[in-house]
Amino acid sequence: MTQVENRPRTGTSGPVVGRPIDRVDGVAKTTGAARYSAEYPYADIAHAALVHANVTRARITAVDTAAASAVRGVLAVITHLNAPPMKPARPVNLVNLSTLASGSSVNYLNTDEVHWNGQPVAVVVAETLDAAEEAAALVAVSYEELPATVDFGAQEPHATPQKSTAISSGGATKGDAEAALAAAPVSVDLRFTTPGHHHNALEPHATTAAWDGDRLVVHEGAQNVAWVRDQLAWKFDVPPAGIRVIAPYVGGAFGGKTMIWPGTILTVLAARVTGRPVRMMLTREGVYRAVGGRTPSTQRVALGADADGSMTALIHTSVTQIGRVGGGPEQVTSQSRHLYDAENILVQQNQVTLDALSNTAMRAPGESIGTFALEAAVDELAYELGIDPIELRMRNEPARNPIDGKRFAHRALREAYARGAELFGWSDRTPQPGSMRDGRWLVGMGVASAYHPSWQFQANVTVRLAADGTVLVRCGFHEMGMGGATAQAQIAADALGVPFESVRVEYGDTTLPTGPGAGGSGQTASVAASVVAACEKVQRTVLALATGSKDSPLRGQRLADLRARDGGLYRTDDTRGESYAAILGRAGRVSVDAAVGSDTRLGGIVGQMRFLSKFLLDNRRWVKAASGAQFCEVRVDPDTGEVRVSRWLGVFDVGTVINAKTASSQLRGGIVMGLGMALGEETLVDPRTGRIMNANLSDYHVPVHADVPPIEVHYLDEPDPTMPLGLIGVGEVGITGVAAAVANAVHHATGRRVRDLPITLDKLL
């Protein structure tokens, strides 16, 4: 069931990195053949459904399961009264990063405690889905309610500063920013708010679990199959080696399928209890109740400048929420440490702790909402100064990282703005708010910077070059739509000088070498580094085979003097060389294999330590990031306040672009999610109960077709010298800056500053 596929699509020879090749899984996804987690057939499958608490903090005093158990086809009603024991959430241990992946600290169905409104308190298993859902609605739970703290707004004054650690900085200062702000001739001091958001991947979280003794197969649309395996092994006290997690297709994730949430654990529990393979897809409401979302935030951005626009003070502070049972700080001030050359800087992140489900990563956690506040504030400062917003940014573009003087690995924001301004027609803009119209529509144009740090994780990879010239790349990475298999096939094809069509990529399975999680926009670069290294190892072995023969024209050659092309190794000083088929054939080899990284216990620890030390070393030497310039045009109806985004253009500095087709789709996807954040998305929480009130896709407004204009994406396409192949991940940078560009354009159209997302029409009237 491992994912193996490729499609001949290129039809030409030569290097393929950089070419907009169609996805290798295109046919599977457009014909319905691609199987997602709830779609694996098992002959005797049973179906499960969750019962969610409808109180906030409580002890369960009684559970009446009689009516539920009486429903025809019900196999089990599992509650804390009859569930077998599971181990409590695993303590965090940085040598094994999977320990970070407990969605919450609650030991579901092993406790009578309720910690958030919506916590699963029972799971029903039945022969049919309808019976399970009917019975789940009949489970009657009685509670003794306890006082709860749920109102984010009310708790804001009690926020506590985030302490810095080696891998996460809560705050930083340079100079005395408050004094500089007070002394600045021109300044703004602004408060912004952003609501909670939910990922709303179109595929609700789904798990299919089948036990065989202590062995377990799990189909789980996950962003890290190894973490699912390790977490389940811990919870159920079985060896990880006996658990196989399979997820070739993930129906969207955006951070929401990184942690291990209760639905996964309780499906596996249900299968354990009933002795049947069990499938459970959370209801859409269930996803809101049992999977964390993006924290709400309040932010202060204060900027001071001289009359010429030189920034003298930059202050950015934030308050976000953490669940008492889990979650973590958001790096809301991340971009504010890197974007502007202010003399004095103060950034500080603060948190409040609520009786709510853990907050979790959602596309560009921190920067997505942090760039909204910072980049909207910069626009306000530009208007205070009477300087064009792009010009103000250019006057404050730093040569080195503003807060600590570190070098930028790569920085091309000037070029991004210059290119974007020309392509978008920025010079046609008249700065006065309300000065541009198209018929009755008010027209506004706004810009904002995009910024997201680049990451690189450990990736174990094997590469097999067969005597027939075909190549097999194996790595347990993840495909939620980024086009990872396509990109890695392109990289391997060029590294070995074989046609794209000759490369197959296997992924999404814990039986493969452990890949990186899909997160931090780091997967493509992480896997690429190992694929390139493994391909080089393959070539060394091939060259050793060739030079062992006195018949080979490669005899006496070093790898550095050779080029991989046309399915073989060829000298660069003349045209002589040999095909892989010829070399392997003469040596009597069916294949040459190479591995990077190891999945032994020791290998795993070495890999994690190597990742951490590289991360810390890199962090000391460089500031690495993807960045870009976002250009937005809106039309606002002067009577109704309706905002329509009419044009969008982004110019991105993301290093080498492996595949412009799939990379552009990721960037557009980020921009579209940013449009949702700007104009519609808002998780509404009842401040009395902490219960999410709009837990469905009718009341939580994600962008639809009609909300999205054609989005132009451009690249600077300059390699980042510190990243594998010069590439920087593109999964998250697209969403950053979007909400600010919209807000700035709305101001330009209407003269109104909306500092509280989303920008709904009531705020413009």
Partner: protein
């Protein structure tokens, strides 16, 4: 009912949705469940050529009807032009909404050919409505794509519409 040209005889409880019959009883998992509330369009199938949300349809109401799912839109081993266009224009990322988008687009193009106006059609009495980008976006807004592949989807539909492909016929 007939599903993708084959007669299916089923006995199901009256409460079972058409979507669950397709996925759980017939193994046609190409049709997706995204919300089960009619809000996302992932479950869109064609019934006698018209698009519906199969999660809001009780299977028993569709006895004797002709159901076409994503598994049935290709004809004689030849991919539907929209399937090819989606690949060419990268009209998807994760793929989960794709079946619904394609089925919905087939139904939408048929509605347009039949002269049906939309909320953004300016002249309701016009003989033929030009299928502009705005018309396509309006008519496809019942199909959510959280990956944000909307541009590629609209381009795919424009490609096929411009090619005057007989999409409805191809669907059968």
């Amino acid at each position: 009912m007939r599903v993708n040209g084959a007669v299916q005889s089923l006995e199901v409880e009256p409460r079972v949705s058409l979507l669950d019959v397709l996925r759980e009883h017939l193994g046609l998992t190409g049709t997706k469940k995204g919300c089960n509330q009619g809000a996302c369009g992932a479950c869109t199938v064609l019934v006698d050529g018209e698009r519906i949300n199969s999660c809001l349809a009780l299977a028993v109401q569709y006895a004797g009807r002709e159901i076409t799912t994503i598994e049935g839109v290709a004809t004689g081993g030849q991919a539907h032009p929209l399937q090819e266009a989606f690949i060419r224009n990268d009209g998807f990322q994760c793929g989960y909404c794709t079946s619904g988008q394609i089925c919905s687009a087939i139904g939408m193009l048929a509605e347009h050919r039949a002269g049906a106006p939309s909320a953004v059609t300016e002249h309701l009495a016009a003989e033929a409505v030009e299928l502009s980008g705005a018309e396509i976006r309006e008519r496809m807004s019942g199909n959510l794509c959280r990956c944000g592949a909307y541009n590629g989807i609209v381009e795919s539909i424009q490609d096929v519409a411009a090619g005057h492909a007989d999409v409805l016929a191809a669907a059968r």
